[in-house]
Assembly symmetry: C2
Homo-oligomer: 172 residues x 2
């Protein structure tokens, strides 16, 4: 009985998907950036740290996938292990109306990621893949070659820290 029900449900889903193909895919798929897929459910990842860049007036939360969090808590982050993904959610800064000396997130600027795979990304010299998606619409940013190089140039001062600016925030 249960199986029959599931069978009819599948046919129903198929019919609905055929009728509304764009609706069925629009919220599910975001194009890859720099050959890298947008990490799934990254908004649900745990916190590694945060930062406030006063030079470009943005605030950030730095998140990690499970491998990154395990490494951060074990203080094994130079190098970060293969499989690590570090994600940054970046917002424009805003003064809080209810507490004017506090800075808080305004508009969402982009989400950017470093994906550690020493084999897959050995050709760019860092062992990391680099990718960014712009805005809440998550538009892929940059073309493959240039995007890598602009990321790597900026991260060169922290080459000795496995190319990563973030230091995991101390936690209880």
């Amino acid at each position: 009985m249960k199986l029959y029900f599931l069978h009819y449900l599948s046919i129903g889903t198929l019919v609905i998907s055929s009728l509304f193909p764009s609706v069925a895919t629009a919220n599910i798929e975001v194009p890859p950036a720099n050959g890298i897929a947008l990490p799934e459910n990254y908004k649900d990842w745990r916190v590694i740290s945060m930062s406030h860049r006063t030079d470009n007036k943005t605030v950030r939360v730095i998140l990690g996938n499970d491998i990154a969090i395990k490494a951060a808590r074990a203080k094994q982050t130079n190098p970060w292990p293969d499989g690590t993904i570090i994600g940054k959610m970046v917002w424009k800064e805003m003064e809080k109306k209810t507490w004017p000396s506090a800075i808080a997130p305004d508009k969402f600027v982009h989400a950017e990621f470093m994906v550690k795979d020493t084999e897959k990304f050995k050709d760019n010299g860092t062992g990391w893949g680099w990718a960014r998606w712009l805005g809440t619409e998550q538009k892929p940013y940059g073309d493959a070659k240039d995007h890598d190089q602009s990321c790597i140039t900026c991260h060169t001062p922290v080459k000795g820290n496995d190319w990563v600016f973030t230091t995991p925030a101390p936690m209880p």
Copy 2:
């Protein structure tokens, strides 16, 4: 057979706990603050927002339990639903050596929580329980009555926002 095993395990645990009472409890139990238990695994919670308080030179990440995250994403936060717990992890601010115009977390200051339970906390007039634990050692802060009142006094400007300063950060 399984039951016998569990029985022997319990006796074993009891013996070990008696031999090393402080070791056995130190990492497991943190005393309640203001009558509220330290929320379990709060470091694993998802992000609601962040802030930088330039007045007292601290930076913060604001996390939520599952009920809080669901409410934040559905934009149903005035009032927040019963069962919500909002947690703030607070650090002293520090200039990043590798990017001097960026501010990042230094020493961990405290973790503080607002626990929504309109029935349990109706007597303080807010429907929220208020609690804070100091430092990485998570020492409970304040005594019941005074602690509530100092929290509530400070949060009075946001009484119309269900006593909460945080606005969930926009996300994709």
